[in-house]
């Protein structure tokens, strides 16, 4: 507690006891509002506890001590302790309101990214057609997210930017932020994050903060912050990735997997998170093993491409024995190209073993 940084010091944007790194142009203001209320609170709390403590010492019951009859009301005292908190809380409201207006009004030149949330992942779409499941943004550029959900409520939260907005099915909500420079963001943002020097970009946390079912806590993703030039290169690469014939289908599938499936399915042998292991599925395809279902017309079958496709689009049709019927349909979320890539990737899990 020795370095309790109660007032943000200029130049020290690093993570501290109270906050993630100060990552956006508005974060500093918000933190200062927080510290203002914190100081008022600390002073009120310490004062009140000190008074009770003092009374406890001075007026504690003991032989020879008696209560003294005092006045039982005092209008001037009542007014005093009504007016002071009123003024303080009015001040709190005001500074909070000002900061809020800044947070609500996106600059008109903001770079727009479309966001779709689903159980349990995100799809970020860029103006050039690129789609990805992590958020990539340019530093020092205002960015506006326009968001909607395909199923239940979600909420997008980036602690370093101090912004949060619910994502609602059937309507669009938006939020904006402007990241500080990469150098400002650097500074041990995340414990396991790679460092700026190694990668040329910074990784920040992104969470879903509206409860959305089983894997609500698994909707955490990464915000990659690049220099504007690197950012262009990155989204161009992403846009090309899926259609580049030079890239093997399975490799494309790996990327689809990382964005859409890995919050529930793992690719290690026998590893189970929510749904069955893809490695085991791959092995069953390779070896022609039967897999078993509950609630399906056939109690078991040997899985193949059609089975995978059906499971992606109509997961409730064949539910694997021992697993809950919990997966949501990806109909409309994954196009045929991506499904094909994914099938190739799943099949490769056990067959590529020898090759690797």
């Amino acid at each position: 507690m020795s370095s309790l940084p109660l007032i943000a010091q200029a130049g020290n944007r690093a993570r501290n006891l109270f906050f993630d790194v100060e990552g956006s142009t508005l974060a500093g203001d918000i933190d200062n509002v927080f510290y203002f209320i914190l100081w008022v609170s600390i002073v009120s709390f310490v004062a009140i506890v000190a008074v009770t403590g003092w009374f406890l010492l001075k007026y504690r019951a003991r032989p020879g001590h008696e209560a003294v009859k005092t006045a039982t009301h005092s209008t001037s005292l009542e007014i005093t302790w009504t007016v002071i908190p009123t003024i303080l809380s009015a001040a709190m409201f005001w500074v909070g309101f000002e900061g809020y207006m800044d947070l609500k009004q996106a600059p008109s030149n903001a770079y727009e990214i479309q966001v779709r949330a689903f159980q349990w992942g995100w799809e970020f779409s860029y103006p050039n057609g690129a789609k990805d499941t992590d958020l990539h943004i340019p530093a020092e550029t205002p960015v506006k997210l326009v968001m909607t959900s395909s199923d239940v409520l979600h909420s997008l939260f980036i602690p370093a930017f101090r912004v949060k907005q619910d994502v609602v099915p059937g309507r669009y909500t938006s939020m904006w932020f402007e990241s500080l420079s990469l150098a400002d963001l650097d500074g041990g943002v995340r414990e396991q994050a790679r460092t700026l020097a190694d990668t040329g970009y910074v990784e920040l946390n992104l969470f879903c903060t509206e409860y959305c079912g089983t894997n609500h806590s698994g909707m955490g993703r990464t915000v990659y912050v690049y220099t504007p030039a690197d950012f262009e290169a990155k989204i161009t690469e992403i846009a090309k990735f899926m259609i580049d014939p030079a890239i093997p289908l399975a490799e494309k599938g790996a990327r689809v997997y990382a964005g859409a499936c890995n919050s529930c399915h793992l690719v290690e042998e026998d590893a189970v998170k929510i749904g069955p292991s893809f490695y085991n599925l791959s092995r069953s395809i390779r070896d022609g093993e039967m897999i078993e279902f509950t609630d399906a017309e056939d109690a078991s079958l040997v899985p193949d491409e059609n089975y995978i496709r059906e499971s992606i689009l109509y997961p409730g049709e064949k539910v694997r024995k021992g697993y809950p019927n919990q997966m949501n349909s990806f109909l409309g979320n994954l196009d045929d190209r991506r499904i094909e890539a994914l099938i190739a990737y799943i099949k490769s899990l056990s067959t590529a073993e020898a090759a690797n």
């Binding site: 005092s74 409201f93 309101f97 809020y100 602690p159 079912g213």
Partner: protein
């Protein structure tokens, strides 16, 4: 209403209780309790019921804290529960604690017992309705157990749509049905209290001579009656929506999911004042009596309860700053939110001034009152960070909120409840508890509570979201401290339980009529009171004229010494 006409089976004065008989011994057997019309017995049954619910909710809490001890970075390993089970744990924890425990705890358990006696009357206005409320509580509890055993509940205690109506695979209908029925239980208790306070105050007890506990219950009852019906209709709509897909809240059928949040918080924000107002009311009594001082600023304390009840109706939108409601609405709700802080502040300062120049008794009820002031202060002050627009945008739905509401609900209401329980325990049971052990237990609980919830403020403002089964390893240390705190708190509460229960045994000391020297009417009757509460009708006076009572070493209690001798109130 049902009661007004029927002659009660309890015969009046003629067939009077034999000397030494009290409400506990007046009759025996399950039926004589479960179908009693005696407000005291109904209060005791509520007490047992709500404490059982508390233990159940606490068991869920301990389970979920144990799960959070480790960050499960390797999925599927080192986890006690699955993600689904965890989601059920916090949902059931929240729902049981809120609907079955904290809302009925003070009004329906302590309030039922004390309110008529404080008024010097035989019962509440509608004893049958009172019993009906209790039976509704039991039915509501059965629905919760039904939900628990037929698929659980995984929506959070807030039942947000469309998750609750379309996606959840659990027994949402049984649980919401339970909450719906409990809502009516709460409405009828409130209605009963309002009518009792309006129509049955004895001669001499003007509104401003009413003990502050009753003012608090009155303000609470207003909210119960005016807010709970809206919860009722909301839950009903939710049930119908889930069962028949009528499309009120489901966007895919043309409904509006955010509308549900407005309806829900229109009730649930006032409901947080249903939770805290009776707690504040208990503390107002306790601080005065155990400081041996007349309460300071009586009218301001009384009126601030009403002010909180009224303002509380206009701030619900502060739970929805990030929901997509318009910036205009958010701004208004934020401004109004701060208005509730003012009457709360008034209370705190009046309590402090009451203690000034008093003769502060170091007993268990006083320990809880002081604990209440400190912990509620932390909870209330952190509410200011949440009411402020720009900071709430980052703090919303993080552990900062979790810490805030546990400080007000546990540190506030639970502490006041335990304080009140200790304070009126001798009156209710006729037995004195072991005060030393009571104090030790309260300190253990206080330490455990702070270890449990204080680290959550830091976690939360750093960004740790709530309702998370799994989290990043950087927060593991905070979670571990928190879990350790939960076990310390558990130990403290088990000591409390032991402390109270052991007083009931053979070794428990018999309680005098007035062990603390309170001047409200319940201290004029025997401990425990007779079936009809009073053998001799007490005269109404200033409820805080503590110096009319003098310590009598023989009975180890206070006796009425008529009008204030200056040497009164010594221990």
């Amino acid at each position: 209403m049902a009661t007004t006409g029927t002659a009660t089976p309890v015969a009046p004065a003629v067939e009077h209780d034999a000397a030494g008989d009290n409400y506990l011994t007046a009759s025996r057997g399950f039926v004589s309790w479960f179908f009693t019309l005696d407000h005291k017995r109904i209060g005791i049954m509520y007490l047992i019921g709500t404490l059982t619910a508390f233990a159940l909710g606490g068991a869920f809490a301990i389970a979920l804290r144990t799960e959070l001890f480790h960050a499960n970075t390797v999925p599927g390993q080192s986890a006690l529960f699955t993600a689904d089970q965890y989601n059920q744990l916090f949902s059931l924890h929240g729902a049981v604690m809120v609907f079955l425990f904290i809302i009925p705890a003070i009004p329906a358990a302590l309030g039922n017992f004390i309110l008529p006696i404080m008024l010097g009357v035989k019962d509440v206005a509608f004893p049958r309705l009172n019993l009906f409320s209790f039976h509704l509580w039991v039915i509501g509890a059965v629905f919760f157990l039904l939900a628990l055993s037929t698929g659980g509940l995984d929506t959070g205690w807030t039942f947000y749509t469309p998750y609750s109506t379309t996606a959840s695979q659990t027994s949402v209908i049984a649980a919401t049905m339970g909450a719906f029925i409990l809502g009516f239980s709460s409405i009828f208790t409130g209605l009963n209290f309002i009518v009792t306070l309006h129509k049955m105050r004895p001669t001499g007890m003007t509104w401003f001579r009413m003990p502050l506990f009753l003012w608090g219950l009155y303000a609470t009852a207003l909210i119960q009656v005016l807010a709970t019906p809206v919860l009722g209709i909301t839950l009903l709509m939710l049930i119908v929506e889930r069962a028949f897909h009528i499309g009120i809240f489901d966007p895919s059928l043309g409904g509006d999911p955010v509308l549900f949040q407005h309806f829900f918080w229109f009730y649930s924000h006032p409901a947080v004042y249903i939770m805290i107002l009776p707690g504040m009311a208990i503390v107002s009594e306790l601080i005065s009596i155990h400081s041996r001082k007349h309460i300071f600023g009586y009218k301001f304390i009384a009126m601030s309860s009403i002010a909180i009840a009224i303002f509380g109706f206009f701030v619900w939108g502060h739970h929805m700053f990030t929901s997509g409601q318009s910036a205009m609405l958010s701004t208004i709700f934020s401004a109004l939110t701060f208005s509730v802080a003012i009457p709360s502040a008034i209370k705190v300062f009046n309590w402090l001034t009451t203690m000034w120049k008093g003769n502060l008794q170091f007993n268990t009820p006083m320990f809880y009152s002081l604990g209440f002031i400190w912990l509620f202060l932390i909870g209330g002050l952190t509410g200011l960070f949440l009411g402020t627009l720009s900071t709430d945008l980052t703090l919303h739905d993080t552990y900062f909120v979790v810490a805030h509401f546990h400080y007000v609900m546990v540190g506030g209401t639970l502490w006041a409840f335990l304080g009140g329980l200790y304070h009126w325990w001798p009156k209710m049971t006729g037995k004195m508890f072991n005060d030393t052990m009571g104090k030790v237990a309260s300190v253990v609980a206080l330490i455990g509570f702070n270890v449990l919830f204080f680290p959550q403020f830091f976690m939360g403002s750093q960004g740790m979201p709530r309702r998370y089964f799994d989290y990043l390893p950087e927060w593991e240390i905070y979670h571990q401290i928190s879990t350790i705190g939960a076990y310390i708190l558990l130990t403290g509460l088990l000591m409390v339980l032991w402390n109270l229960l052991s007083s009931l045994g053979k070794n428990g000391k018999k309680a005098p009529a007035n062990p603390w020297g309170g001047a409200t009417l319940e201290w004029h009757t025997t401990s425990p009171p007779s079936h009809h509460n009073f053998e001799v009708q007490p005269t109404v006076g200033d409820p805080y004229a503590l110096d009319e009572w003098t310590w009598d070493p023989e009975t180890e209690g206070y006796v009425h010494s008529g009008v204030a001798p200056s040497v009164a109130a010594r221990h």
